[in-house]
Symmetry: C2
Subunit: 672 residues, 2 copies
């Protein structure tokens, strides 16, 4: 690469892009860790984007109508940090750049949502950013239709690398975006032909532009170091009604001895080579130095958006106070005031009518009262709408012709759905939920972990939550999934026993601000077990006494979801034999764990034998089966010990021994 | 669709295809559950494939050089069962067809590997079959290069639906297959334009032929009900050196009232409509009846392969006895006899030299002695070769130009890698291992669960197994992953403490026949803790006493992997204070659980306080922290309580309190 020619062709541009490159080199060298090459390769694209196109205001990183910039190739985090520092984001000071990858720094190894205002999403696990971006763009489309383009009208820009595009989730994102004609989505592909193991062609020969075009995208191919070409491509991308992919031919680690090599992907720390690169750039400055005129130029770019923001604020102020309040509420992630009363009314009606329905149906009944009062919900399913019961009457379907629709047919794309839901939540003003069979949390896991890590309150509607699914067999029957989800930090796993608990779980999910929720819901009908109405949300406590012992308390049976019915039947058997038995429903372990000791001890007192029943594996249950203090209670578990099988559900419960009789027998054997 | 025209155009073909359709309708109706439409739509393709092309012998379902038929759209299981019954597979009797989806039947809701001989893989979770098939085809290529085309020379055929192709894993499979020019792989796309939620275009407008072509595939588009076109396309596919995709335009539930509708995807059970369809087919027979001449024709197809097999057996018999034995051993999944001695020799050398290396490096050291004596190993990494340490000196790289290479650059495709590994194991004669960062088991989870469910002994080399990964931060640091993997039935999760345990773990993994293994390996250097050589494989017991108390035993510290070093250091602190402390290394919980009670009690006797230390969450540890019997030991846990952070590893261990001092303090606080 002829660096001198690049310098002389567009000297002002070059200097600005150089600042990104040198800050990257310096920060990675100081950390002795990180990824130098990607920011050095994509500095030109980023410079043109931020200078000429991106609508943003570093002084108001959360301004709702800003453009979103998603660094899907998150290992190139120094690209983002350099841009944020240079344009004046308050959270990314020069000291933060110097502290790159150190304990407590906002400049983590990969961009972490919440660490600094202005980081739109957490990236690093490849492919997530581009899939998040589809959610950002959907949220923008829906809100533009709902609020009008005067209030919502912005673009989502993504930088994705070869890694992002090789990950399968990218195909799910590309397919969904193409079908949905997300015209405000622009993806830059950092086409540098290098991965960690070597040149891309040792693992992939995909013609990426052709692949995107096959899914309905507008595609362009440019020299990613030519600022004029970059600018023209962005102009064309914005003008096209389809989502755009701009293939940017770049040189990883441009201008460094490691340029165009796998070594260039990683940490370039050699001091001589670093100095040589700086010299080649025409910027032989000390570590972390940026020439004053260059910094000024970048600050001017950062100041560019203030006027646009002010104009937006004026338009926003012209909305009616009610509309302003509604917009502000949705962006704050607050539930509407009437949610509590709405849920209470549903609970009361259910406790009285006591229907026997599957909790997936209970979820639909709850959504039928929620969706009309929460315009910010965006629902969907990965091609199991009729099974997940996720679509309510008046949502409308989101489609290129019906942008106000709030229901998304995600297709058979669990991972893409979950990542898009994260993007919607991160966009703001949207509360996303999406459904699939619980077993296929396996497919969505990469994005679900990021929901938890970022603390975005999306809701996973996971139906067919056990062997109760029946004939579809072991590939479709979750066994270990409750344990896996419960093992994940910052995730509320609800397994409601009936419609009342389902409504309560939904209330918790919809009022959560920093924790995603999973609703594990039955395929099969379940009786209403909460026949006495309580205004209080008992599920909020995680576990509670559903039915107490009628005589001296000798046993406690703990259960969740569809097995609460079995626990209650076992209690009947035991009480008939004079064995005082308490049933504790535990719809959410995490919330029960958060209660104070005295509450937990009240629910699970020392003394009685303890038996848990759940149509999943025991893993994790020991936490509740053993007493809190010194003395260990005798305890047992009734549930699964391996994978399921294909047969009608009732037969499976019998064959695997998850029956009231077995629970009662287990209690008796322990009492003896 | 003009059924009459189809009938008259190719009457003999039609009758055979009709048998598949009517058996499907009858079985689904009897089960009142299942998926009728797909087998009805793809019956013509399957009939032509089985009649004219597929090399198979129902009397020898495991014959190594058979073609492989993979039903990626596994919900259409009745297609496979009907074919197996009609062509004479012994395990699929008419009674099995009648027992479709019932308890104990071999005809489960989705095809389950191991239920009937002749089912090549478990499918149902969409996209897995096509990704398995890439592994099948790679194994065939490698073995053809190794053994010659006289011994190994067969094709892998796949039927995939829209669901398979929307799942992201399909892109990973398509990309890998295209780059690798897997010419013996032929994929039929059941292009019926229907998914559960509606027509495909409500979620996807992808031009699938263009998408496959973009990744280097040979593509054709045909009428999937025209037997002449189907045959010609298969001929052309076999002739082309690239992997082939044949887009088959079909009608789901052909000839039924539900044809071309989403309803047709599911269970068609209406008796009148069923009868009407049979009449339209010209086969108004009773339930499960197949006309004698049609059954005869199918049986003749089933008999077609016997001669081919006999010819192969003659060629095989002409190999030298040593070669025959080697081939047979590899296909039996037996390790070579010298494996044990090789591992022992390595252990002895390591115990003496006591190197301080990361266990990912230990794994490489082990592979360096294994790969030369096990020609059946196929290694690889999802673009982290230098980090996973999965490539040994003399493996060679598998590539279109170097088919004998046994190392695969999978690209950034964890899910596709895992599914391909499953395919290699299922193919036979291959032992697959593959690496990525342990955190990205999240991406591979869909296929890893199937490794466990099918019981295929693949090995996942999961390095960077904790916060010890350091600066890359929380997105790359596994916290809950050990718990998730341990929660999975039939999976051995090894977390070795040093090179000796790593070698022992590898020995267990390579001698396993029905259980996949995960090796959780450190990024950071670890001392050799097993300095006294034992011929016995202690890791085989799952947990064992690594260092016993030097005075009265007051405490037991349990640890795995990189925290065993910390446990030993804590023991030193405690012993210095006169507190007799045992350290138990627990590299594999599952194997420890399999030991008899008395062994477990010997290792973890009642009485001493128990502290576990592991750089993951506590979830699951309670199983070992609480005593086996009545009295509960005082216990504690030192580990993670949430997500990690970005900083140098040593700093993270300090900040999160995973230190010898903290372990020692925890023990002391419990003894008090």
């Amino acid at each position: 690469m002829d660096i001198a020619a690049l310098r002389s062709a567009h000297p002002d541009h070059w200097k600005k892009a150089t600042a990104i490159r040198t800050l990257t080199l310096d920060a990675v060298a100081a950390a002795n860790s990180g990824h130098s090459g990607m920011p050095m390769g994509m500095a030109d694209v980023a410079t043109v984007l931020f200078q000429n196109h991106l609508t943003f205001d570093p002084k108001a990183p959360a301004w709702p109508d800003r453009d979103r910039f998603i660094l899907s190739a998150g290992h190139g985090s120094m690209l983002l940090y350099a841009l944020m520092y240079l344009t004046g984001y308050e959270d990314i000071t020069l000291q933060q750049i110097k502290d790159f990858r150190q304990w407590g720094a906002k400049t983590a190894g990969h961009p972490e949502y919440g660490h600094a205002r202005g980081i739109e999403t957490t990236t690093g696990p490849l492919g997530q950013g581009i899939a998040n971006a589809v959610g950002f763009a959907i949220a923008e489309e829906i809100q533009r239709a709902h609020w009008g383009a005067k209030i919502v009208d912005h673009h989502t820009y993504v930088i994705a690398g070869d890694g992002c595009l090789m990950e399968g989730v990218s195909q799910e994102a590309i397919g969904l975006a193409g079908m949905q004609k997300l015209g405000h989505l622009v993806v830059f592909w950092d086409n540098n032909n290098i991965t960690i193991d070597g040149t891309v062609d040792i693992a992939d020969i995909t013609n990426q532009p052709a692949r995107f075009a096959a899914s309905g995208w507008h595609v362009q191919e440019i020299d990613g170091h030519d600022p004029v070409a970059i600018d023209a491509a962005i102009v064309a991308a914005k003008a096209d009604p389809r989502p755009s992919m701009i293939a940017c031919k770049t040189h990883i680690a441009l201008g460094h001895a490691a340029q165009d090599t796998s070594k260039g992907h990683g940490a370039l720390t050699n001091a001589d080579q670093l100095a040589a690169a700086k010299t080649a750039y025409g910027a032989p400055l000390g570590a972390f130095e940026v020439a004053a005129d260059v910094l000024d130029a970048w600050q001017a770019i950062g100041a560019r958006g203030a006027q646009t923001r002010a104009a937006w604020e004026a338009r926003f102020a012209a909305l009616s106070p009610a509309k302003q309040a509604e917009f502000t509420r949705a962006y704050a992630g607050d539930a509407p005031k009437k949610l509590a009363a709405t849920i209470r009314a549903l609970k009361k009606q259910i406790s009285e009518s006591a229907p026997s329905v599957a909790t997936r149906k209970s979820s639909e009944m709850t959504l039928e009262v929620i969706n009309p009062i929460m315009a910010e919900t965006i629902g969907g399913s990965a091609d199991l709408t009729g099974s997940n019961n996720t679509k309510t009457r008046d949502m409308g379907v989101f489609h290129p012709d019906t942008r106000k629709g709030r229901y998304i047919y995600y297709g058979i794309r669990e991972h893409g759905m979950a990542a898009a839901m994260n993007g919607m939540a991160l966009h703001g003003g949207a509360r996303a939920y999406g459904g699939t069979f619980m077993c296929f949390t396996d497919y969505a896991r990469g994005a679900m972990r990021l929901s938890a890590l970022m603390g975005v309150p999306v809701t996973y509607v996971m139906t067919h939550d056990s062997i109760g699914l029946g004939e579809d067999g072991p590939t479709h029957q979750p066994i270990e999934h409750l344990a896996m989800l419960r093992a994940t930090p910052n995730m509320h796993v609800f397994r409601p026993a009936d419609t009342v608990e389902t409504a309560e779980a939904w209330e918790m999910a919809l009022t959560s601000k920093t924790t995603p929720s999973v609703l594990a819901l039955s395929r099969q009908n379940l009786p209403t077990v909460r026949k006495t109405h309580t205004a209080k949300n008992l599920t909020a406590q995680g576990g509670y006494v559903l039915a107490d012992a009628e005589s001296k308390r000798q046993a406690i049976i703990m259960a969740t979801g569809s097995e609460v019915e079995i626990a209650l039947a076992a209690r009947d058997l035991l009480q008939a034999d004079g064995i005082g038995t308490r049933v504790v429903s535990m719809p959410c372990w995490e919330l029960f764990e958060e209660q104070d000791d005295s509450y937990r001890r009240k629910v699970l007192p020392a003394g009685p034998v303890r038996v848990a029943v759940e149509a999943g594996i025991r893993f994790g249950w020991d936490r509740w089966l053993f007493g809190e203090r010194g003395k260990r209670e005798k305890s047992g578990f009734v549930g699964m010990h391996g994978f399921g099988a294909s047969a009608p559900a009732e037969r499976l419960y019998q064959e695997f021994g998850i029956t009231a009789q077995n629970v009662a027998d287990k209690v008796k054997s322990l009492i003896k």
